[in-house]
């Protein structure tokens, strides 16, 4: 059972798309798993033959439980190796968890001796002989496979190995960017990204389950996270004028909403405030390398999802606008990607459309900060010693006191305010 979210501890198998005896290829969708927030397709990480399905449909099991056993077998040779495989994969299960102990293999004494001398564990070798007997040729193949892909002796940087564990990426599924080089963090991230892009959500969830999931997550947030709250009022006169001017001159589909500027300013400020951008895991804070912005999206039937805009600080306001529209569409059509559930490093909630002035939100674990924006409303405001009417917005920050202090949060909000005074720079 793969971990499809930092807060996921168990999952339910909704559907099996394969059965024992089926031949599968790396990347095939083999099952659909319910995380309580969404139904997610599970990909197969290696090619082979399904020898057993261990968890029946409807069963709820902890993360890390083997779901099925795959064997490298005749099916392997039929489908042939895919491009990025450098040899037959050993018997394994989807995800990185070790498989259950395989049954004792039949083999002749000379074959046993050959295997022992070569350091080959017979239980890891597929037997192609009569009744599944392991032959001398099978052992020789296992040795050849081991030479071409030394399992457990992959050249991988210590950081990349750590990251792979955190992201649930199997080290054996990775290959370096260039041949003969070690696997680095970027290779792990790329693999996680590819996995995320290939695994869209298939089924939307019933409202009750989503209510329960939101409830559990928010209760955990309030129980574990010592929240502190800050708010500031920002004069959006310049930003609103700039938007008006911009929108007058671009085709309608390219019009920007204030939200795009608010998101961009937040992303830029978050990049400069590493203590607010990242995850609290295992009693310590892990700052993120980039700003992956979760955006809270209310669903029409009730409920809430937070699709993620990756690398938000590196995108232009126009790109962010397009990303935001795509994210809202993903959330409302139930087509979230795995990254939408796991990758966010800080979340923005914008309740301005509902007319409220400000929102003091609950942090989305394991993140450590949530930024809220209320409605943009025209109000009296002192400008250069005179009272004027300005479009104002209240920006709030809910932050995790374990990861940051008020001063950091205050600087962060001030930076957002300052950035919004120069919309052309966004």
């Amino acid at each position: 059972m793969p971990a499809l979210g930092a807060d996921m501890t168990e999952g339910t198998v909704l559907e099996w798309l394969v059965k024992a005896g089926d031949t599968v290829r790396k990347g095939d969708i083999v099952a659909v798993v319910d995380t309580d927030k969404a139904a997610i397709e599970v990909e197969c990480f290696t090619s082979g033959t399904v020898s057993a399905v261990l968890v029946p449909v409807g069963s709820r099991v902890p993360v890390g439980t083997p779901l099925a056993v795959l064997a490298a077998g005749p099916g392997m040779t039929e489908v042939g190796p895919t491009q990025d495989e450098r040899g037959p994969a050993p018997e394994t299960v989807p995800h990185v968890e070790p498989g259950p102990p395989a049954e004792v293999r039949l083999a002749t004494p000379p074959t046993r001796k050959f295997a022992a001398e070569s350091g080959v564990d017979l239980t890891t070798v597929h037997g192609s002989g009569r009744d599944g007997r392991v032959t001398h040729a099978d052992v020789a193949r296992a040795i050849a496979a081991r030479t071409s892909l030394p399992a457990g002796r992959v050249r991988i940087s210590p950081y990349a190995r750590k990251l792979a564990t955190e992201l649930g990426v199997a080290v054996s599924s990775l290959s370096p960017t260039q041949a003969r080089r070690a696997i680095h963090a970027r290779d792990v991230r790329a693999a996680a990204q590819r996995r995320a892009e290939r695994a869209p959500v298939r089924h939307s969830q019933d409202a009750e389950a989503m209510r329960r999931a939101i409830g559990a997550l928010m209760a955990r947030a309030k129980r574990e996270i010592p929240h502190y709250y800050l708010s500031t009022t920002i004069d959006l006169h310049t930003a609103v004028e700039w938007l008006r001017e911009h929108n007058l001159h671009v085709p309608i589909p390219e019009r920007l909403l204030p939200a795009a500027l608010l998101l961009k300013a937040t992303a830029l400020a978050a990049r400069r405030a590493p203590q607010l951008n990242g995850h609290w895991v295992d009693d310590s804070f892990r700052p993120a390398d980039s700003v992956h912005l979760g955006t809270a999206v209310a669903l029409r039937g009730g409920g809430l999802l937070t699709p993620v805009i990756l690398d938000a600080a590196d995108r232009s306001a126009s790109e962010l606008m397009a990303e935001l529209r795509a994210a809202v569409t993903r959330a409302r059509t139930g087509a979230l990607r795995s990254t939408d559930l796991t990758a966010g490093t800080i979340t923005v909630t914008n309740l301005g459309d509902n007319g409220v002035e400000s929102v003091h939100g609950v942090i989305y674990p394991p993140q450590v900060a949530l930024v809220g924006f209320g409605a943009i409303t025209s109000r009296p405001w002192a400008v250069d010693g005179l009272l004027g009417v300005r479009p104002l917005v209240t920006a709030t920050l809910s932050a995790d006191h374990r990861a940051s202090d008020g001063a950091t949060g205050a600087r962060f909000l001030s930076r957002i305010a300052a950035l919004l005074q120069q919309p052309e720079e966004l």
């Binding site: 940087s157 210590p158 950081y159 990349a160 190995r161 750590k162 960017t177 080089r181 070690a182 680095h184 963090a185 590493p274 700052p287 390398d289």
Partner: protein, 322 residues
């Protein structure tokens, strides 16, 4: 605009003005104004009791400085170059660094020793070495290396106030460098490393004379899309380990630039600590850019080839980033 030399002089003047107990002594610091003209004019300003020329005997005048410090003064001793400080090594190591310990805490030595270090000026093998890493090996000493105008101006006063011996290393190529210095610049801390340029892809650690090399390399790397962070150690002993580890946790790659020789160097110490404490943050082998293991050559092109250059740092960073 001011020069590094003038900033140092302003720091000296500050110390002489603000603390009656301070005085400067060393070879040619008075009438000649200092071999590198750092103390030019101070004799005229403060008189021969406060700015004293000494005989050419490093062991004697460093010893005298230790004695004066034990007697309640706050001496600032200038040694012309780090190579010559070896003549006073017995005084520095066996007396200055150990007396507090050997007296059971009764005798502290509030002594500041300034000296020139480093190569790059065609002064050959007896005037060009970077031995601050050796001194950073010794418990009982604090070692600082100002690389910026602010630090040249402000480190001395903080060092004078330290109750224990502080060695301040001025890189010889920096004296003529000029830059902006705020009129109200003053004392700075001598405990922490400082990030001179934030970045996300690789950490370049440097200090003193190599800081400029690292910053220039970071600029060149930025042109090709590599965002390097530059950490100025400032204090070589005790090392600001948290600052180093924090930076590695952000960038996951490390290049140490050190004008000392590689074997048994400060760069080796940093690499070892990162390997001890942050191995699982490393995404690439640690790279070191050090001086070739030869006595510093006199010939200009050979000297250039022996020292860490911008191109070497760029190449190391590229290897690390991959």
């Amino acid at each position: 605009m001011t020069t590094y030399r003038e900033a140092l002089r302003a720091g000296l003047r500050d110390a002489l003005e603000h603390d009656e107990r301070t005085f400067l002594m060393g070879e040619d610091v008075g009438r000649y104004g200092g071999c590198f003209a750092v103390s030019l004019g101070l004799l005229e300003e403060f008189g021969p009791d406060r700015v004293r020329d000494t005989p050419l005997s490093e062991s004697a005048f460093v010893g005298a400085g230790i004695g004066a410090a034990l007697g309640g003064m706050r001496p600032i001793v200038e040694i012309m170059t780090v190579n010559f400080s070896l003549l006073a090594l017995d005084q520095i190591l066996n007396n200055a660094a150990t007396l507090l310990h050997m007296s059971g805490g009764q005798l502290n030595v509030p002594l500041v020793i300034r000296m020139t270090t480093g190569a790059g000026r065609q002064l050959a093998a007896q005037h060009s070495h970077s031995l601050e890493g050796w001194y950073a090996h010794i418990p009982g000493l604090r070692i600082v290396a100002p690389a910026t105008m602010e630090d040249a101006r402000g480190m001395l006063w903080t060092a004078v106030q330290d109750p224990d011996p502080v060695l301040l290393f001025e890189h010889g190529t920096l004296y003529n460098v000029s830059g902006e210095l705020a009129p109200d610049a003053g004392a700075v801390d001598i405990d922490h490393a400082v990030i001179r340029r934030p970045g996300t892809d690789v950490t370049l650690i440097a200090y003193g004379g190599t800081l400029r090399t690292a910053l220039d390399a970071a600029g060149e790397l930025a042109d090709s899309g590599v965002d390097a962070e530059v950490l100025d150690l400032r204090t070589l002993r005790p090392l600001d380990e948290p600052a180093i580890l924090d930076s590695i946790a952000r960038t996951h790659r490390l290049v140490v630039v050190d004008e000392g020789w590689r074997s048994g160097s400060l760069s080796a110490e940093i690499a070892a600590r990162v390997a001890e404490k942050a191995l699982y943050e490393l995404d690439a082998p640690i790279e070191r850019v050090c001086t070739a293991e030869v006595p510093i050559p006199y010939a200009q092109q050979l000297e250039h080839a022996a020292l860490p250059q911008q191109a070497d740092v760029v190449a190391a960073a590229r290897r690390a980033v991959g």
